[in-house]
């Protein structure tokens, strides 16, 4: 069977599985819809959290980012895993004991204020929509590359699938489809990683192959460590050594902190821990989640290093006509561009961009070709020796082709990419719909609606959210790529401190919490907007506050939040007696079922 048929089979088969699960796990009550009835096993919740957390970006882009950035990308690896330690120790068990449905629920109740609840709802919606637009787009792109349908058709198919299981099953449907999606995506990521590791180093585990010696063309041990060789090769081409960083230590420190605290504060991650039966399950479930995530996150840096070395070996100083097939294929889809600046017919790699911007072509290969049969670029050349643009997203998607792996592996990677994008999208959509139906409608605007009406409203809100997300997927606002920093920065500067103080500082009152949240938000929001949109030309180290980039500014916002909240709470009245009792109650595990009655 050819790749195309296999891909249809794999992606179609995985969809049938997701729909089957959705029908089996329909939600009958609001508790089912919001927290899957609260009866999910910690292992299943761990796998679901991992799928929820690992988006199209983790699956498709991360290994590529690492391949190009080397040590500098470590901040993503540590930042996006270290947050689970904070979750397990500081947030998840206590929020589980609290026993409500959403993050604004906790903030509204703990700070006895609908103002605090509403601020939280707005943050939830903003953070989640920023995220979800990218997921829908990711689904569309995977469809376009592997199934040769239009990107927009891909987005619509993705919407239809998510619609089916998110609207029908709510959290219950989402949880069990996410478990299935995790299995698909991890298998799809690890199979090529293992193949590549064996090919490059003879090690089955990418994690150890990463630190092993490389095999030469005949398959014999060359005696040279892979990373040592990679450092050598990239410095020869004028790049910084792979294992050395080029970012300032201060900035790396602040970015790592913003990513960790942001991860721990992201509503769609926190809410997953409301679905396990007991407090002790919430603690160990964070461990399972990190275990499942670590399978991918410890393989990705190995894949990045293998791919970078392999790429340079294959492409650098090779005559264009002698390049492998995948080079032409990805050039056809516009993700590779070659400009023969020195006219020698061979591809040269070097530090710096080959030309300005992303490749734009004069026409398809059938219409215009250059001297060696390459597609002709219209970009202005830069004045260095670099001749080739290779999009970093290719690294994972093209690995099976680069490693000459069988066709079913390529089909598997396609199904994995779609699974990663859909599972994250569904988790985010659920958070948006419950923020609207539960926090805004039931708790603020119309407290007297029945459970049936609330469930209907939740489904309605999910439908609307899917349509908006789909719209953004089809008409991506130019800012999506720019605002990833937003989601983490805002979560770190708003939710994380407020929830933490709500649990660990009994004296914290509503005045302090609201003032802290607004300060953290306003500061982080304006800093990012200023450097990303108002004056992007000033976005460089010498203009940054304390040398902290917009990616890391959430940490400063978080510190401001803590400081302001503490100061304000000292000069205003302490929280009422019953709130102090709630705090005492959530600190002990026993009686998790009863907390709902407060």
């Amino acid at each position: 069977m050819d790749v195309q048929t296999l891909t249809y089979l794999f992606v179609g088969g995985s969809f049938a599985l997701y729909i089957g699960i959705a029908i089996w796990s329909r939600a009958g009550s609001t508790k089912d819809f919001y927290v899957a009835g609260g009866g999910v096993s910690p292992i299943a919740n761990g796998a679901a959290t991992a799928a929820d957390w690992m988006s199209a970006a983790s699956f498709i882009s991360m290994a590529g980012i690492i391949a190009y950035a080397g040590y500098d990308a470590s901040v993503y690896l540590m930042g996006w895993t270290g947050g689970y330690v904070l979750l397990a120790m500081l947030l998840a068990p206590y929020l589980r004991k609290f026993g409500k449905f959403t993050v604004p629920d906790f903030i509204g109740d703990r700070y006895y204020s609908n103002v605090a609840r509403t601020v939280a709802v707005i943050c939830v919606i903003f953070v989640s929509f920023t995220y979800v637009a990218g997921q829908m787009r990711g689904t569309g792109i995977v469809f376009a590359r592997f199934l040769e349908v239009n990107v927009n058709t891909g987005v619509v198919i993705g919407m239809a699938i998510v619609f089916f299981y998110a609207v029908l099953g709510g959290m219950k449907g989402i949880t069990y489809t996410q478990v299935a999606q995790y299995c698909v995506l991890i298998f799809a990521f690890l199979v090529p990683a293992v193949f590549l590791s064996i090919m490059m180093t003879g090690h089955v585990l990418p994690q150890t192959g990463f630190g092993a010696t490389v095999l030469d063309a005949a398959g014999n041990d060359s005696g040279v460590y892979l990373l040592h060789k990679l450092d050598q090769v990239v410095t020869d081409l004028g790049f910084t050594a792979y294992t050395d960083g080029s970012k300032s230590t201060v900035d790396v420190f602040f970015i790592a902190a913003a990513l960790m605290c942001g991860t721990a504060g992201l509503p769609h991650v926190i809410v997953r821990f409301f679905t396990v039966p007991r407090v002790k399950d919430a603690r160990i479930s964070a461990g399972w989640a990190l275990f499942f995530i670590a399978l991918l996150y410890t393989s990705a840096p190995a894949v990045g290093a293998f791919a970078r070395l392999n790429l340079i070996d294959t492409v650098h100083q090779t005559q264009y006509e002698e390049l492998p097939e995948w080079f032409y294929n990805w050039e056809n889809s516009g993700l590779i561009g070659w400009m023969d600046k020195n006219g020698d017919g061979a591809v040269q790699m070097s530090a710096g961009a080959a030309f300005e911007g992303k490749p734009t072509f004069a026409g398809s290969r059938a219409e215009v070709t250059g001297a060696y049969g390459e597609r002709v670029l219209t970009n202005a050349p830069s004045d260095n020796d670099a001749e080739v643009y290779i999009d970093r997203d290719i690294i994972v998607l093209a690995n099976p082709e680069i490693g000459n792996l069988p066709a079913w592996v390529i089909a598997l990677v396609a199904a994995g990419g779609v699974a990663a994008a859909l599972s994250t999208a569904a988790g985010l959509l659920l958070v948006i719909s419950s923020a609207i139906s539960h926090d805004l409608l039931k708790k603020t605007l119309k407290p007297d609606i029945t459970e049936k009406q609330e469930l209907l409203a939740a489904r309605g809100a999910a439908v609307v959210a899917i349509c908006i997300a789909g719209y953004f997927g089809i008409n991506p606002p130019g800012f999506v790529a720019q605002v990833v920093a937003f989601a983490f920065g805002l979560a770190a500067a708003s939710f994380f401190p407020v929830i933490l103080m709500g649990i660990f500082y009994k004296r914290m009152n509503k005045e302090g919490a609201i003032a802290g949240m607004l300060t953290g938000l306003a500061f982080t929001f304006s800093y990012i907007v200023y450097f990303k949109f108002v004056s992007p030309e000033l976005n460089s180290a010498e203009h940054w506050l304390l040398g902290v980039s917009p990616e890391g500014i959430g940490t400063v916002g978080m510190l401001l939040n803590f400081a302001v909240a503490f100061a304000v709470s000292r000069v205003t009245a302490p929280p009422p007696e019953h709130i102090q009792h709630i705090v005492e109650d959530i600190r002990v595990p026993r009686g998790a079922g009863e907390a709902v009655a407060h």
Partner: protein
């Protein structure tokens, strides 16, 4: 549950959290970021040690920390008789 018991339980929990978070900080911000250049002088199999902590080691330690914390807390819950079921 008596108030003193609750206070002692909470204090013990806070001690555990602080201990584990100290390790959490040391492996990620310490070994992976602040001391990375010094540790990179040390070779660990085919890795420079600082680089290994930043891209592999820190993640393994995070995982071990969560498992140890969950186990310690299960014990603590029983000791202070606040466990579930």
């Amino acid at each position: 549950m008596k108030e003193e018991n609750a206070r002692a339980y909470w204090a013990a929990n806070l001690r555990l959290i602080l201990t584990y978070l100290a390790v959490w900080f040391a492996v990620s911000y310490g070994c992976g970021i602040l001391l990375v250049d010094e540790l990179n002088q040390i070779q660990f199999f085919g890795f420079k040690l600082g680089f290994w902590f930043a891209q592999q080691g820190a993640i393994y330690v995070f995982l071990v920390l969560i498992i140890m914390y969950a186990r310690s807390m299960n014990k603590l819950d029983r000791k202070f008789d606040v466990h579930e079921d």
